[in-house]
Symmetry: C2
Subunit: 304 residues, 2 copies
Amino acid sequence: MIDLCTLGTGGSIPLHTRALASLYVRVQGRAFLLDCGEGTQMEIGRLGWGFLRIEALVLTHYHADHCSGVPGFLLALAKAGKTEPFAIYGPPGLRRVIEGLRVIAPQLPYALELHELPFGEAAFEVCGLQASSFALDHGMPCLGYRFDLARPPKFDPEKAQGLGIPMALWGKLQQGETVELPDGRAVAPEAVMGPPRKGLSFLYATDTRPVPAIARMGEGTDLMFLEGMYGEEEKLPLAVHNHHMIFRESAALAAQAGTKRLILTHFSTSLEEPEAFVDNARAVFPETVCATDGMVTQIHYEGR
Amino acid sequence: MIDLCTLGTGGSIPLHTRALASLYVRVQGRAFLLDCGEGTQMEIGRLGWGFLRIEALVLTHYHADHCSGVPGFLLALAKAGKTEPFAIYGPPGLRRVIEGLRVIAPQLPYALELHELPFGEAAFEVCGLQASSFALDHGMPCLGYRFDLARPPKFDPEKAQGLGIPMALWGKLQQGETVELPDGRAVAPEAVMGPPRKGLSFLYATDTRPVPAIARMGEGTDLMFLEGMYGEEEKLPLAVHNHHMIFRESAALAAQAGTKRLILTHFSTSLEEPEAFVDNARAVFPETVCATDGMVTQIHYEGR
């Protein structure tokens, strides 16, 4: 299972009822953040999932609404007792931005590991998830991300019996160890595993015009987070001008990708009630919801 | 009248119910901020006094809890339509800090005027108030400020009659103009004004150990804002170690200054209910209250 919380759902300038962009991702006891707008540290406090387990921050780009909370968050991590290294990923410019912002957070009791990603496709691992970045179209280097959690295949007792493996050795095989049978044969875990099982995956792409990569990278995902900058159809020219999307465009990408669910987030200051326009998205992709600050959602494995 | 709102009353790390240090000062239709911790732009939105009238930001020092809201606030000013120059005052290091933070707010539609103050006494004017800075003891350059609003003397009709000034000319004198009488004499406004009248003043000093300058600069003020980092008496050694004050120490400075009222603000994360310790301050200075986020207070002229 992966727990996801949209800590802040505002884009550009926050409302006093809506914090700026940040997504808390919790998976198998570990956690990372996607973006860190102003107010993120307060929202983490409100959520109660804690600071110490957060191992990494993945930034989409360097507009202030996505990273203005970084110095405060880094200090909150320190206050929480962090001593392990902390990783930050982001597009080109990462080092310059973090160095600039650290003018007010110069001393930290843990090491910062900065991973500057290319403005394009790249792969890395975060909290046991396979992360894949891809370029968006925002008038500045902005990255979208897909995250995949592999699901180990299931132990197949029939295969084990068929190979004549004593039950006393099943536990080791289930834990991924190769075992030696009484007759001297070595059996690797793969030999007793069932077919591959579908893992979990989600995609996060905000601050962009529609690009084919979003639909392509979204294929087979359980969930896509896409921007809901403007709900109104008539704001399309404004969306084009500001390198953003209207609800319908995000929904069309979700439909094209064939994902299971779409969550719209990153709402314009002018969009006081995103819910009022959600039907513009649902007409194209029915499984759409508008995020709210602090909203928690999960993605689960299918079947056993 | 001066309106004052403690936008955020937290020190160090915010609680999710308590934003970081910032004071909104509104005087005669103009306004400035004292400090600008993370969340300040949201708190201004909540307060509803607006962005556009804010002409200046006065910073005490460069710990993140006092300036982490600067980039977001500068962008919110831009979004509000600011085109007039905006002034920022602060102790040595101002230029370096603002340049660092502006890595995520590089383009603003208004000019920033940076006024780096010495770490010591200095005088400047902000929104028609006379500002006086003084050095605090925080282990880094940190300034306290006193602000004075002069009150013009009152027009004295008896003096005007005594000088034989026709009533038709009184209006001009009241507006500060020199007038020429029918007999050729020139009369300056000062000649028809009453005695000097007491203006309004307040002091703001947080993040410091007690220093004599606080009591001295607080003499004759209507109100002092001092830090309430720790309420508990037994936290004195911690306060000494962290260059902060306990409630009782702030109250003693207010008593020594002979101010009218003391507002404690800038509470430690560990101090969840400042009110529980306010008697430690009131035992020394009865007119003490603990600030809350969004609390508004006023200082008024005495008499007519």
